[in-house]
Symmetry: C2
Subunit: 155 residues, 2 copies
Amino acid sequence: MVDISKMPGHLIRRLNQISASIFADHMARADYDFTPVQFAALSTILENPGLDQATLAGLIAYDRATMGGVIDRLEAKQLLTRSISLTDRRARQLYLTDKGRQTLAALEPLVSALQGEILQGLDDGEKEQLLGLLEKATNAGNQLSRAPLQKKRAS
Amino acid sequence: MVDISKMPGHLIRRLNQISASIFADHMARADYDFTPVQFAALSTILENPGLDQATLAGLIAYDRATMGGVIDRLEAKQLLTRSISLTDRRARQLYLTDKGRQTLAALEPLVSALQGEILQGLDDGEKEQLLGLLEKATNAGNQLSRAPLQKKRAS
DNA sequence: TACTAATGATAAGTATACTTGTCAATTTTA
DNA sequence: TAAAATTGACAAGTATACTTATCATTAGTA
């Protein structure tokens, strides 16, 4: 007889669900309509203007096919532009619009603030500890993910 | 400028993705076609024969609407039966079939074994520590989830 | 006992998150 | 340089995971 409630997989899923809920709540309360992926995408494009979808997906550890739909929605909201690269006609280069930059600037403090709520119930030392363990575990398991994080190579 | 890669929300999502990947890999390798939710559902019905969908959802912290689809697929695979309760005609009572019990028995050791792989990269002490912190954090955040875990009341 | 509130389940719609397959373009290699 | 392999993007299909709304039934209350 297995006890699901003590399994790492189950606990991780639950914490992820809690985290997603908190994100959604804060967005709704501030009258924004954004998901965690959408925020991560905008934020990464701001720091890497002109990057293509596949590279973007690699930088935030998302699947390429999923990223296509995310970009669709952000483009529909006119937060970014998608244009065919001059050097590689397969690739779409991504740039934030002014509206995208303004929205992101408003979003950032919100998102930073809600992170603390995800680990409410832990004291500062425990938060630190958990964060370290999460980093270690994700780094070790990265290659097992369907969408491994792919660091930018030094240019 | 925010660094997503250090945010709890992002790390939790990645670890969850890794965990889901490992689960899918092990299932595929053993020629089974099951998701984590499906396993959790089967396992919980075995221990609580005759329970209804809403209670099941509460016991494993899933959304009721989502659970309906999960049960659909398990019923199509003939692993469980869904029958209208005699005492409450709104509720569907769930029971494993013989096939369901046999399949679950074969699945359990597989699922137990793959749990260790999720936290590969951590030594035994760290695994223990992480598990404890995850439990504490999920318990504290439970009510913030869209689908809070609802313990069985003593009968 | 009629009214209301709550509950179990489903339906429709949105957004991930993945799969496989395809296409076009580019890169590698033989 | 021609053939092969890889790559970026999209399309279609499956499975969560949620939302709101609706329906039927049951429970609680006035």
